[in-house]
Subunit: 354 residues, 3 copies
């Protein structure tokens, strides 16, 4: 099952143009398009006439014309015209989904439309808002349950094993990191410190560290599907840990968002932002390539883990490093229970209306 009453990223804003973009989201076929006015529409990718996916269609004005027999729909899913026919049948309509464009992202609401509260969309001012950082973006298709991706981001001791050659390194440093966790009802935030540790190669290449560093990894999970990451390092002694100083060393922000595609796959939207040599686009590019390599390492692990857990889901046995994994899992389960209750309410109301 999916948590439908939530906002998910459907696409990066720049991915949606006058060419229809088909995506499967929460198990539903959706077609996204941008009308001539700039408005974005998200419709069920299925014409009401004969069922052809609307992705074969063409955009005119703020409407989409089906590529089979020319039936036209607007962004609300209403039929605007049927060629050669005056009256439009009431049933000639397709489902549309609430859309909000914000922070370079197209957010979609797949649940009950009346509950779509725009104020609940996650803020991310680093894309183009109040405090923009130079960044690059990626849409990664991963064949795993979306929840495994969240779990992956909640236990960073995997860096020592999965990312040996990129951002990982010394297992002991990772398992002995200082770890503070701040759970709440909507997610969990944690910060790990590798004090007085050897900087990984990627950091050295980035800012030329010559000695040991104090390295932080701050992750904030906002249920159901967003993780904001802020990591960096300063030379030990420059007050990163003691005084909260974050300036003058290495600093990187990653926006992670995992939209369920099917029960067995997800769309992993992420951006990597350069906070250390902000005026150098090629540095942002190098950082992006490093992250791409790193997240491909995760992908291989997650797809194998998914196949394994699909075959036999339990037992899984937690370790001391799973504190954030376990809390995130609890929050997700609560949202699933709320979704079931909402579905029940909707069904009951529908029944009463008969």
């Amino acid at each position: 099952m999916f948590i439908r009453n939530a906002w998910y990223v459907a696409a990066w804003a720049h991915e949606v143009g006058s060419e229809p973009l088909p995506r499967t989201l929460l198990g539903e076929p959706v077609v996204l398009f941008r009308g001539e006015s700039g408005k974005v529409g998200a419709l069920e990718d299925r014409c009401a006439h004969r069922g052809l996916p609307l992705r074969f269609g063409t955009v005119t004005g703020d409407t989409l014309t089906c590529g089979y027999h020319g039936v036209v729909f607007d962004c609300s899913g209403k039929c605007a015209s049927v060629p050669g026919q005056d009256r439009i049948p009431a049933a000639m309509a397709v489902r549309s989904f609430p859309i909000v464009e914000k922070d370079e992202l197209i957010w979609i609401w797949m649940g009950e439309a009346q509950d779509a509260d725009e104020s609940k969309i996650v803020d991310y001012p680093f894309h183009g808002g109040a405090t923009p950082w130079p960044h690059l973006t990626h849409t990664q298709h991963v064949k795993c349950d979306w929840k495994l991706m969240i779990g992956n981001l909640m236990d960073l001791t995997h860096l020592a094993y999965v990312h040996k050659g990129t951002i990982g390194g010394d297992p002991d440093a990772h398992t002995q990191a200082k770890f503070d966790i701040f759970p709440d009802e909507n997610g969990v935030r944690f910060i790990r410190w590798l004090l007085n540790s050897m900087p990984p190669k990627l950091y050295v290449d980035a800012v030329g560290f010559q000695e040991r560093v104090d390295r932080w990894m701050e992750f904030e999970f906002i249920a159901p599907s967003t993780v904001k990451q802020f990591t960096g390092a300063l030379n030990t002694g420059e007050g990163a840990y003691e005084e909260g100083n974050r300036e003058g060393g290495f600093a990187l922000r990653v926006f992670h968002h995992v939209t369920p595609e099917t029960e067995d796959s997800c769309l992993y939207f992420w951006s990597g932002a350069n906070g250390y040599r902000m005026d150098e686009p090629q540095v942002t590019g190098q950082l992006f390539q490093g992250l791409k390599t790193t997240f491909a390492e995760d992908e291989a692990i997650l797809e194998a883990q998914h196949a394994s857990l699909k075959r036999r889901p339990s037992p899984v046995v937690a370790t001391v490093h799973d504190k954030a994994v376990v809390h995130a899992d609890r929050v997700i389960r609560q949202l699933m229970a709320q979704q079931s209750e909402a579905d029940l309410r909707t069904a009951t109301a529908a029944q009463a209306a008969v």
Copy 2:
């Protein structure tokens, strides 16, 4: 379910030779072969000995020898010999299917053999019979429910959208075409006229039209699976519409037949016949290539439509252009109901015989 009590095209006559030809028809694996006498056999593609598909076998005389241990079957499915064994067990036999070779086509009957009435096979004199037209043939594999292909041929307003670059063109001309429909119990015939219209590029290339034309499209659906098409155009004023004159312009006949392969795929047998420059084989070849391009456009649409309808079959909402679609659908549903009744009668008789 399939309408089994009907004649279907299993292959073009020229496709069946001394090399066994395996085909899945109405969900059943069938192997076709032509014996030395010219006779065509159609057997279940499964040896009665150890189950190997008989397509691995070799043809000798009018028999097929299994490629595993050499058991031999004749065209009736009877076992002709077992190597090194005198007595042939009664159970050593495979199912055979009634076959008729006619009009360059191999017709097969997959239903109850006693009901196979050869007189019910569709006539098509343009292949090689009384009024042959020069033509070329194709066997196209399409991953859709066979009924969608029939539906596609019954609403030609799709030409304006699906076949923009080939035989389509102006949407308004298509949606405003004169349309006469002649439904009957076994199918439906319709004729569409685009009077005083611009000829499509394919027609101009074919016969050099220099002005507006009167263009006809006559389609006859004979249930469950055949559509005969006769289309053409004459210069406006030459009496195509008013006087029934069909000579001296562009004229094309297409034989369409859709044999179910599985619930999700079909074999689309079609021929295209040149009625305008009949003595020029290269013109027949060009016409064929044009049709091949056109029908590949249909294939892309139909496969996407099939996947979409498989996920969610209803609703589909008819437009004014669906008159022939709706009637053809009704005839097909009646044949399905008759098949169910026949199956019930067979089962009841079998029960009574116990």
Copy 3:
């Protein structure tokens, strides 16, 4: 279902080293590895922590470290350590399987561990034991029910049809071969003689026969999954048949073992041993290539047979050449019945213990 209470070949000894080797055996994902001491471990290929297949791990000492978060398991499946954690949870363990390394083979027991009786493993002294013959080995993946491979080896009249170009040839010679069969409770042995027959090309190339030969094919099936083959030929008149002389002509031993992978696939482990020009490695190599070609012919047949029988399992109708097939099948069915009874006993005992 699988006969789990039996020894199967999991791998050739040389296939298992310090790089984890994943295999699916009897439907279960297993990872094999060789520790630094030379000991071989076979574990369920699924970490108890988060489910990642252990094949992503690395071998240290005689243990395997998971490639996700570094949990360590020994050859018995016991957890040896969790990074950064003192106490090891009781549930942090994976299933291990009894392993015996013998005759260059890694044998595995997938049934109840307490029933794993090493003395029941098939002997094969020709690999490296008392009477070694020069040989080469292969692991062939075949997409068929493992029982079809056994059936294939039990009726050699298929040589005339499937192996026309390699070891087959004259159908009459094969169907008229002398045939003696020696069934017992654990399998069946048979010997076929093609007396005074033309030697196949492979034999001629091997030892330069210039005349007719007496050719033997001795096959011993030991349930559930091993077949030992000894075939060869001497010039007619040199006493192969009458006096039991096996020296001075062509002689070949093949070890066949078929381990179920899934219900629809198996691992076919085989070796081909050169008994005629034992001091010439290139002759052993040529023999091996000949067998590889031959067994690829079987693979094509068996995969098609499997798909056909999966669609419709019965009827299959035996011929006079199926004596060994039928007996082997009976022995296999008895082992299946015994497995069901053992499963019932285990379930009953588990119930009583509550």
